[in-house]
Amino acid sequence: MNKLWIVTLETFLRQVKSWSFVLLILGPFLMFGISIGAGYLGASGSASSDEIAVISAQAQLRKSFITSDKDDVNKSITDKQTAIKKMNNDKLAGYLELKVSAGKISGHYTGTSSLATGTKSRINSYLMQAQQQLNLANAQLTASQIKSLQQQPTLKETVHKKTGTANIAKKISFWITVIMVYMILNTYTSITAQEIASEKGTKIMEIIFSSTTAFKYFLGKILGVLLVILAQVMVYLVGGWGAYIFAQNSSLTKPFMSQYHSMITSVLKNLLSINLVYLLLGVVIYTILAAFSGALVAKSEDAPKAAQPVIMLNLAAFFVTFPFQNNLDSMVVKVLSYIPFFSSYFMPLRIINNNASALDIVLSIVILTLSIFLLAGYIGKIYQGLMLQTDDSGFWKRFKRGLSYNK
């Protein structure tokens, strides 16, 4: 087996077998599960007292009400005494008595508290509709008169693209993108820098470099970390898809999903696009820099500090996005969307805002990819020297000493 692949696989397996990776992967799912579970428990705990009973001497009237609003009604209670008993035991929010008298339908609600706005408007809507049907029947009108009376007013809604839901979707996409990129880059730069730094100056590196080239080993490490993030993204995609399907079908989240369907679709489209490529390339370039940073520590004991320079750069790129959340057309955003280390944040934001052409995107990706190759090539070349020198001196002296291994 190719030695590059052996190092890649070893790095990948060591990471994915660790508890920190399992927790990293499961974290979002645990949060989702806990929120849904808490919502469900809350809903089920109060379910009995939210329901109402419908009591009526006219069975047809009761039946048609239940058909129109089955979610709010406890269908098993049919008489007033049972309803009062259940209400006193906190098992029922109240009961609605429906009756028809002298051509007029009336409803009387008795409950432990006022009706919820939604339930009240549904009852009103039902009563109006039922009264209208009764009126039409009593008036004994011709078919054309009935048709004429059934005319309804219409309300049309036109939403401009840059306003309303589309705008909210962009804002949500903006925040999800920058926070996701920041979190993922932070996680992987820390993992890489600490992993490299912990090997720094140890004799295991001499054993490894007596078996394969430092360049191959370095690339193997980077590819291993890249595989880890690919695995994480795959798990998130599959898990996210499952959560999306669940949310669409669960009674708890279905109303929310229907109400915000267009916005959710829009956010998902923004996230599951070429932006993922930027995320992956961003991880690669930050990982390479993190490896370099890890190789520059004085000794393996300094591993926890190793990621600091890269984390600071990532933090800077993250914060620079803030002033532009409402001004994504700015020239600064355009320039930064081509500069490696910043483009992973800024080009996705331009893509979300629909102000990046295909050429802009291709150009930015080419610059980023080229930078990755150049950076990997250079660091791979000096990697051996940096890893083998063990001077406990200043940064520049260590750097120069590392370079002198290869001169």
């Binding site: 004799k203 020297g385 083998l388």
Partner: protein
Amino acid sequence: MLKIQDISKNFGSLQALKDVSFDVADGQIMGLIGQNGAGKSTTFHSILNFLNYQGTITWNDQAITEPVFDEIGYLPEERSLMPKLTVEQQIVYLARLKNQPAKKIRPQIDNWLERFAVKGNKKDKIKSLSKGNQQKVQLICTLIHNPKLIILDEPFSGLDPVNADLLKQAILTAKEQGAAIIFSSHDMENVEELCDKLVMLRNGQVILHGTVREVRQSFGKTRILVTTNWTKEQLEKLPHIIKVERHEEQRYLLSLDDETAGEAIFDELTQGKYIEEFSQQPPTLDEIFRLKAGEKDE
């Protein structure tokens, strides 16, 4: 055959190696000796291509690059393994980096652990082993792929006499199998016992080079071990004696400034009569090491 020709290496203004040359044939053991900082590790690093240098280093007339790495077994001066791996994972990982298939290595591990008397199981984590056992696992990693060129940097340091014997046996077995072996050591007894030849470095330069016998003979037979009833004071008055050390009751080590004086001293001490012990020898490697290490560069 490992051939090193005129290699030099500078670290800034520090000259770490200067025109170092030697070779090690297949089935030969060479000792690389010298004080700390003499350039032994830099020589090993040059052989392993860890650093750029001036001069030529070849293994069987090939430059030492990645294809040759698979034929090398290297034990660095300080011991270091991957603490979170199990013994088996560690051995297999490093062997795979030497192009050895895992399925070939795995069945051998138990035998190697037994051979080196490693206390522990192959499923134990490296970090759970004692320092000595970790050292033995590292030796196994160095040797398990049957390297043709073995480089051992201070292999005996930290080993007790029993384990040192196990290592000596492993080195001699590798020699019998035709490996070229080069090791550094501060223990001259081990060098004398195992090595066919030696190179001594001082300040990056070769100051001694040859077989152990040649090197010792080159210092002349300036050492006399004698058992006599003469007193130390009487012995010190003999011609060409520069030092007298009493080893045991009536047993002395005499150091001469001229080996040809040995015959006259023999005549003087024996007076034509029987004497229990009189042995004129070249200095030991240990004495040579101390002597040469203390000299100043020319």
